[in-house]
Symmetry: C2
Subunit: 310 residues, 2 copies
């Protein structure tokens, strides 16, 4: 299997986060969608990162990324400060998020320029950034075979034409349920997913946090459970870690229906790890043995067998 | 199989409902948890109903119940008016409910008295009524083998000691996630389910509406998907119809893990039917062929196979 593993190209944010919960706080921690994605997907496949940081980016964060299968040739270092993001979570399960501050800094002028060695990438993840930048990446990967994009409400509100052009170019769209309803104007998810697929993608994945995620393909639906949580310390990055698990499975095993379904379970496992500690701390502590253990719990959660397989 | 099917005893409310949505209204329609439960479970097994109505109970509602496998010997008819309930649903998917009026009428003095022929019941569903009344039923079914109870926030707030005594006597507790969190004082569902099981039940089922339902047993968890909805006209009774599908499966096939898991899928099917029209109208239009069709969609939603089984 290992010689068939394809590298994954990812473009997205690398940030320094400050996160507050009712009982804890942390600041200057490694954040950004690409960070969570990379460190999750690198459990399964080599990663090619395209992102930007400032000259203040702490060496220990860079070293953490370098210590994994993550190629940093595409990580631009620019004069100025790294993208910074501050948020507060409240609610009994930290389910309510308030963004307190966003400082784009070097991210404001970011354009993704791929190193020559990245241009043969087959598996591509466009994390949540401006749709025009996501499209710029696609111009540079003519041989891409499976492209997944994430997005956010901001781009639905302010960059819909770019988003529509993007959706015509990708294989899989990741959204949460509110975004899917807003984008499509449909109240129910099956209709919303069909509306999104009408632009071209052959798969739409709706993320619903602790309620799991749904995969819509033209004639089937799959429900991936969330791993049953016993604790949440910092919900940041769960969706990006989910994408890392999913794309890791695709990088290893292709993009058939079975791989997408099982890949979503890997996504749920990585998402469950992400929330158990601040930043990427819990993700980088996990090994494949632990991941497979959580995966078997998820497989059992959707099994109709009377007794658990071992 | 048919000769092994056990009758199901159900106690609960039979009501006349008035329901308003932003686009439609209906009044004097058949409602009450026991009505939704009976007409759902009667697709699978004979039903023994214990409930009360007033002298104003419309003959056509009685005839509808009689036209199915529903024994009405235990349906008391008392001087006065039938229990009446009025509610309004709002929100893009009718997800917000406001109870506008509740008139207990003959239900205020209701005590469940079982006809002698009901007393050998093995499979029992205690729909959502006062815990003391649920306990009165259990005094009259010494041979019960599988008892499931539903409940509601009102009894958590006002009748907790009765609820705790009830939980010590039942095999399975049905709740929604907010109720489970409130009852247990635990923020996360696995801990909440363990706390409830510590009273005695060997199964706890958490209903989460369009997010499906979770079955907790001492060492396993199962996630039953909700059937993907394309329309909702009246959300009333979905949980009671779910219970009808579940208990119907148990009445036919026993109460092993596999039956509980598959029974929850039948529950999801009946719940999906319940919401597609006012009152029980859509449920009574369905036949077993349609139910099996929806069941196969749900089975496929949790299948890891690359292609759909037929």
């Amino acid at each position: 299997m290992a010689d068939r593993v394809r590298p994954i190209l990812v473009v997205g944010s690398v940030a320094l986060d400050a996160v507050h919960t009712p009982s804890e706080s942390a600041s200057e921690i490694l954040g950004g969608a690409a960070s969570y994605f990379c460190l999750s997907a690198a459990m399964f496949a080599p990663i090619r990162l395209v992102a930007v940081v400032g000259e203040d980016f702490p060496p220990e964060h860079r070293q953490l990324l370098e210590s994994r299968l993550i190629d940093l040739t595409g990580l631009q270092v620019r004069p100025g400060k790294t993208f910074r993001w501050t948020a507060r979570y409240t609610g009994v399960r930290l389910e309510t998020r308030e963004t307190l501050d966003t400082q784009l800094n070097v991210f404001a002028d970011f354009h993704p320029t791929l190193p020559p060695a990245y241009r043969d990438s087959k598996v591509v993840f466009l994390a949540n950034i401006q749709p025009e930048l996501q499209l710029e990446v696609l111009e540079q990967v003519p041989d891409a075979e499976f492209i997944t994009c994430d997005t956010m409400k901001l781009w639905l509100d302010t960059a819909r034409p770019g988003l529509e052009r993007l959706f015509r170019r990708v294989d899989c769209v990741l959204m949460n349920d509110e975004e899917a309803v807003q984008f499509s104007g449909e109240r129910f998810l099956p209709s919303a997913a069909r509306a999104i697929m009408s632009y071209g993608p052959r798969a739409v994945i709706i993320k619903r946090g602790e309620n799991g995620s749904l995969l819509f393909t033209p004639d089937r639906v799959f429900l991936a459970p969330a791993h049953p949580l016993e604790t949440v310390r910092d919900p940041t990055g769960a969706g990006d870690a989910f994408a890392g698990g999913l794309m890791g499975a695709i990088a290893r095993s292709g993009d058939g229906q079975e791989v997408l379904r099982r890949g979503m379970l890997y996504g749920s496992v990585l998402g469950s790890l992400a929330v158990e500690d601040f930043s990427v701390r819990r993700i980088v502590k996990a090994d494949l043995h632990e991941i497979e253990g959580r995966l078997s719990t998820l497989v059992d959660m959707i099994s109709l067998n009377g007794s658990r397989a071992h």
